[in-house]
């Protein structure tokens, strides 16, 4: 990477602060819509970290797939299921919070200890592929990773069909008891409205 080391440090600090504060906002904020938009910010900053690591292709894929597809899908899902409801209180919520927080902090300290104490066998940056990583990824995908690449396409097809089957509203064309064709408008009227007024 041809950027000066001081600039890299400044970029890294800003990006990691945005990632960590944004992630805390995603899990802690009360409003789920704010969480979804903060999640988009976190995804963009992760793409920035990939650029710092000399991976322009993966950064572009991250922006396209995560911000362009996954985040939009999440916002649509929030729009469809956004109903104001009073959650039933759980009586042992405090002990649950304490246990889960202590588990997370223990795991975090363990991981940070491994990160700091392990001696990583780093390679010298001389034989780094640098900006040519897109070419190398293409070579990998069409030689030694060809089978996973094809399996991934089958997985995407399966996920697409599965999502359609699961999210489809089942409307019968015939009444089961009488065998007469069903008035479709009647079904739509009697069903529960998905979007309710917020007030």
């Amino acid at each position: 990477m041809s950027i000066a080391i001081t600039t890299q440090f400044i970029c890294f600090t800003i990006l990691s602060l945005v990632i960590l504060i944004g992630a805390l906002g995603v899990v802690l904020l009360e409003s789920i819509v704010y969480s979804a938009f903060l999640l988009g910010g976190v995804f963009m900053s992760v793409a920035g970290l990939y650029l710092l690591l000399n991976a322009s292709f993966v950064a572009a894929a991250q922006v396209l797939v995560y911000v362009g597809a996954v985040n939009v899908l999440i916002i649509f899902a929030i729009m469809l299921v956004n109903k104001k409801e009073d959650l039933k209180p759980i009586n042992d919520i405090k002990s649950r919070r304490i246990i889960s927080t202590s588990i997370c902090l223990t795991l975090l300290s363990l991981l940070i200890r491994v990160d700091l104490t392990n001696v990583w066998s780093l390679t010298s940056p001389q034989n780094s592929i640098g900006e040519e990583s897109t070419i190398r990824i293409g070579e990998h995908l069409f030689s030694d990773y060809l089978l996973p690449f094809e399996v991934a396409s089958v997985l995407l097809l399966m996920a697409m069909i599965g999502a359609i089957v699961l999210a489809r509203r089942d409307v019968m064309s015939k009444d089961i008891s009488t065998g007469l064709p069903v008035d479709q408008e009647l079904i739509e009227k009697s069903s529960e409205p998905l979007l309710t007024n917020k007030n």
Partner: protein
């Protein structure tokens, strides 16, 4: 500072912290959409880890970047199917509260 590049530990600590935030959200959220968002955060933490090692340990063959592409693919499929399951659950229960999804309890 006379370092040549950002130390690998900095990236690893950011990814560890992001992963733990994701686990905390997964365990503590009551909204099912937020649970899916926490899973996405954890997948992103894993991706940062893979990219860091591919850049610092395997910077000629960059197999970690190929793995990241596959993880992104699986994450997109997971988000689509997860949100479809969430929609059909919402249609049956008219709620997104995780505590009320007890269909497998007996």
């Amino acid at each position: 500072m006379n370092l040549e590049s950002i130390p690998i530990q900095a990236f690893l600590i950011v990814s560890s912290a992001l992963f733990c935030i994701g686990i905390w959200g997964l365990l503590n959220s009551r909204n099912a959409v937020r649970v899916l968002m926490s899973i996405e955060l954890m997948l992103n933490a894993v991706n940062i880890n893979l990219m860091t090692f591919s850049s610092y340990v395997d910077n000629n063959l960059i197999q970690g970047q190929v793995f990241t592409i596959f993880v992104i693919t699986v994450a997109a499929a997971e988000a689509a199917v997860g949100l479809a399951i969430l929609l059909s659950l919402y249609r049956n229960r008219v709620t997104v509260d995780m505590e009320s999804f007890n269909l497998l309890k007996w």
